[in-house]
Amino acid sequence: MFNDTITAISTALGEGAISIVRLSGSQAIEIVDKVFKEKNLHNVKSHTIHYGHIIDPEDNTLVDEVLVTVMRSPNTYTTEDIVEVNCHGGIFVTNKILEIVLTLGARLAEPGEFTKRAFLNNRIDLAQAESVMDLINAKTEASLKVAVNALDGRVSNLISDLREVVLGIVASIEVNIDYPEYDDAVVMTNEILKPQIQNVITKMDEILEVAKTGKIIREGIKTVIVGKPNVGKSSLLNKLMREEKAIVTEVAGTTRDLVEGYINIGGIILNLIDTAGVRETKDIVEAIGVERTKKVVNEAELILLVLNNNEQLNKDDEKLLELTKDKKRIIIINKMDLDSNINKAKLPNYLETSMLNDDSILMIEKEIKQLFELGEIKSQDLTYMSNSRHIAKLKSARKSLGDALDSISNKMPIDMIEIDVKEAWINLGEILGEEVGDNLINELFSKFCLGK
């Protein structure tokens, strides 16, 4: 009875070893089947579990090793087809899978929406109706707020501006159509349209790039700890790992990155890479080689460079300082309880810590937020999810414009191309939570002098 397929992460994010992305609706099987590598899920029996991998349809890379449960209508919770993707509990992977199914046409479920469907499809009896109503009403408001507020201010402005540009293109085509004899509007042709659309696509790509700041909150920061032996790397790592919220999962090989542990530090997820390097007892620069260090540093988004207060800076320290100078890094001068022999004048800025107590962790947290311009993070799982929604919408908008370009090269008439451009405009509006309404008509009459 519902026409769309809804999806949500149905486990608490980042807290368990396994996360579940659940889909309900007529397209649930079709959507997951598109990205499930091993089997055709259309053919499997109901209420069965299947082992395999989820691939990213954008570049065909492996996202995660998963177990997929297929439950067919009507004997399911919502009475619709339900597919559950059991993946590894990391935020990155879970969100990535959610993002993929959103891009393929599922809609992010409102809080309580699975229950709502269960009720509406007569799965739950009438006695429960009132409480279901309360649940939905209480949560809808929260989710709507999140949908609009969770959007990073800068991105929101960029999207707004972009939407104006797209609306301008649509209006220019529309005026040609509704007023074919009106001579003050440029006659839009595919040749004029092409660079304009390309321009918007470029900007969208930039925004997707910029949106990575938001992504950091969602997906975490790829972090590496470097420093010569005996400066306190291991104690830093251990201290971080011992943090109450710290989660370490051994899922190397199933994601695209060699993430070896997740640390939740004040709401920010640090994805630690190359912890092996840290645990190495030998001098990493000498033993593992400069090349290896370079590679690790390159890959990381954040470098925690640990120095020893008690020693002068040597060649290795300087090499590491040089290697990381263009990266986002936090220089940590450890062992402040010992005599200071380090030449601090040479260092750009740094944190001073001692045996990495709780204050040190707070200092590091503050520094990270500053480095990544994250401000005050109040993020709960809702924020992460709506960000996925925004990214999925922006990607859909971008895809529509890509379709428009394809149609231009296929010599489609301008009014067909406008269908794609309008679609992009609608998608962008959905990011901002704006209604389509009469905007277009208003634009037409404010921009062009039309009439008899």
Partner: protein, 624 residues
């Protein structure tokens, strides 16, 4: 006692009277002036983007406008030919004498239809049900259903600068009492305004200074049934000229004398943005050096030219000054001055999508009285009101066109769901499924309905069915046949600038190439072209734009699921907990028939819709 009484003989009234009469119901048309039946008081053209498609839709459903234009046109053009099929539209210059004359003849010939020349002053209403009409002379006529199509006549006032007087369009007699009586019945009315440009003497124009705008040199028809055409060389051209800097400076010097810009302070009415006066254009688009002026012939019998683009409410002496600054019009003689007209209309949100009033049973409204602008919009509503009035009497299900079925459906849904603050004009931009609402497929979309109502006879229906069959058969053949990459085939393809084939291909897939048309396929298959132009066009559109059509159909499917979820009429929105206050107000006012319609009301949010959906399900389970 009549089945149906139609008040007003304009474009809405004519269709509203003809449809029920043709469906066998005893119908009375009351018009204040028989000479003004189907009169064209403003521009002499019918059709254009969106509007032209409406004329086709009217014809497909069995209405009269298309046929009448075909009989009365003096020039026709197909617009937007350089663009895709979704936006092409016909426009005709209609002869202002022939059009009303031909329509009146049709009305007079129509069985079951009585026409009287009288002014209606009041309605007879008992227990919120309409019973009849009261004429100016107090005479009463009784009917089961009344369709009110008062156009721009209710409390109409004409304005030229600061002069205003009570008058309908073209100095016709206005209706002085009807809107007061509607207000007494509880209807909310609004004051709207529109205008018309000056007419000049046909022989006082220097055409050498203008650009000729001839009609197309091939035959066009609005109606699917037209077989006789006006000879192409007998078409009358239009002419194009422009305003000058001098025009603009005279207007700016005299702007305070415009009724719109201060001459009349208490002007409350709202004019349409798409019919701005020339002073409005110059104020709002100050940087534009010139504006287009189209000179359009009014009729072959009247030596007058309609000056499209010079709509104004400036005083007569200023109108003279302005018009003489336009190249070609330096020495022209104004035969009739431009004027603005202000009138009462009802808020269309008070109507069901059938165009029946929510508060008074059996009372339908159609046309400009509902706040629309344009002949085509009026006729489309008239036809729908007529059909629905007849269906109501017959005890049949109402006829509501969906947004994906017709521009008429888009228009009525917009009117009753969103209302309007200015005279509503159809634009292709208003239709979200524009590609499906083409002028070439109006018959495919709607003819079946017309046939079921008895408005399309067997012969015409059979012709339509044959056309459909031919299209389906031809298409499936193209899907089965194969064209192989022989030397001959590839030479032919190269000769028409199409890439040579490497593998065999079905003709259907080959047709997807932009440069390939149906005739090319027939050459390749060594077959004769046996289909008509219209049939070929259908096949080409269906094949070439398949991807986009599918995209639209997917969207339509979603819409239709929401439209299928009906809201029980007895529902009281005040009883729904947690619904936003604004949503409660709006929903109580509009009383949407479906969840889909509810979602289109501005101010009703997705969360309100979710709550409403849940409530309805609970409500159903309790009441069924």
């Amino acid at each position: 006692m009549y089945d149906i009484i139609v008040i007003g003989g304009g474009h809405a009234g004519c269709e509203a009277a003809l449809a029920p009469a043709r469906m066998g119901l005893n119908t009375l048309l009351v018009t204040a002036n028989l000479k003004k039946v189907a009169h064209l008081p403003c521009n002499p053209s019918i059709g254009g983007p969106a509007k032209g498609v409406v004329v086709r839709e009217i014809d497909a459903l069995g209405g009269e406008m298309g046929k009448n234009v075909d009989k009365s046109q003096i020039q026709m053009r197909l617009l937007n030919t350089g663009k895709g099929p979704g936006v092409q539209a016909l426009r005709a210059q209609a002869d202002k004498v022939d059009y009303p004359k031909n329509m009146l003849a049709t009305l007079l010939k129509q069985e079951n239809l009585t026409i009287i020349e009288e002014m209606v002053d009041d309605l007879i209403v008992q227990n919120n049900e309409v019973k009849g009409v009261v004429l100016e002379n107090n005479e009463k006529y009784y009917g089961k259903v009344i369709i009110l199509t008062a156009g721009t006549y209710m409390k109409a006032k004409i304005m030229i600068s600061n002069e205003t007087w009570s008058s309908g369009p073209d100095n016709d007699k206005p209706s002085l009492n009807l809107s007061d009586n509607l207000r007494k019945l509880g209807f909310k009315t609004m004051r709207l305004k529109t205008g018309t440009p000056p007419r000049v003497a046909i022989d006082s124009i220097d055409y050498d200074k203008t650009i000729i705008q001839p009609g197309d040199m091939y035959y066009h028809a609005f109606s699917y049934d037209t077989t006789e055409f006006r000879p192409l060389d007998k078409q009358i051209p239009c002419y194009l000229t422009y305003t000058t800097e001098e025009t603009h400076s005279i207007i700016m010097q005299n702007i305070s004398k415009s009724s719109m810009y201060g001459a009349i302070e208490k002007l409350e009415s709202k004019g349409p943005r798409y019919c701005p006066s020339i002073e409005d254009k110059i104020v709002r688009f100050a940087d534009k050096p010139r504006h287009q002026i189209f000179l359009e012939p009014e009729s072959i019998y009247i030596p007058e030219i309609y000056v499209q683009g010079l709509s104004t409410s400036l005083p007569k002496d200023i109108q003279e000054k302005i018009i003489h600054t336009v190249p070609g019009l330096e020495n022209c003689k104004i035969v009739r001055y431009a004027y603005a007209i202000e009138y009462d209309a009802i808020d269309p949100k008070q109507l069901w999508p059938t165009l029946e009033a929510k508060s008074i049973k059996g009372l339908f409204f159609a046309g400009q009285v509902n706040g629309t602008s344009g002949y085509e919009e009026a006729a489309g509503q008239g036809l729908m009101a007529g059909i629905n009035a007849a269906l109501k009497i017959m005890g049949k299900e109402p006829f509501i066109l969906k947004r994906n079925e017709a521009y008429i459906g888009v228009m009525i849904d917009d009117l009753v769901t969103k209302g309007t603050k200015e005279p509503y004009r159809l634009l292709t931009s208003r239709a979200e499924y524009r590609l499906l609402l083409r002028h070439d497929n109006a018959d495919i979309r709607l003819r079946e309905y017309g046939y079921n109502f008895g408005l399309i006879d067997e012969r015409r229906y059979l012709k339509f069915k044959q056309k459909l069959n031919k299209i389906v058969t031809a298409k499936s053949r193209l899907e089965k046949l194969k064209i192989n990459p022989s030397k001959e085939v590839n030479e032919y393809l190269t000769s028409i600038n199409s890439a040579a084939l490497k593998d065999g291909i079905t003709p259907l897939n080959l047709l997807k190439r932009p440069e390939i048309n149906y005739e090319h396929l027939m050459s390749l298959l060594k077959e004769e072209v046996r289909l008509s132009k219209a049939e070929i066009q259908q096949i080409e559109i269906q094949v070439k734009y398949e991807g986009y059509i599918k995209k639209m159909m997917n969207q339509v499917e979603k819409l239709n699921k929401l439209e299928a979820r009906r809201i029980p009429e007895a529902i009281d929105y005040n009883n729904i907990p947690n619904l936003a206050i604004e949503a409660k107000l709006k929903l109580n006012q509009i009383k949407p028939l479906t969840i889909g319609q509810a979602g289109r009301i501005s101010g009703v949010n997705p969360s309100d819709i979710a709550i409403l959906t849940v409530y309805i399900e609970t409500y159903r389970s309790k009441h069924e």
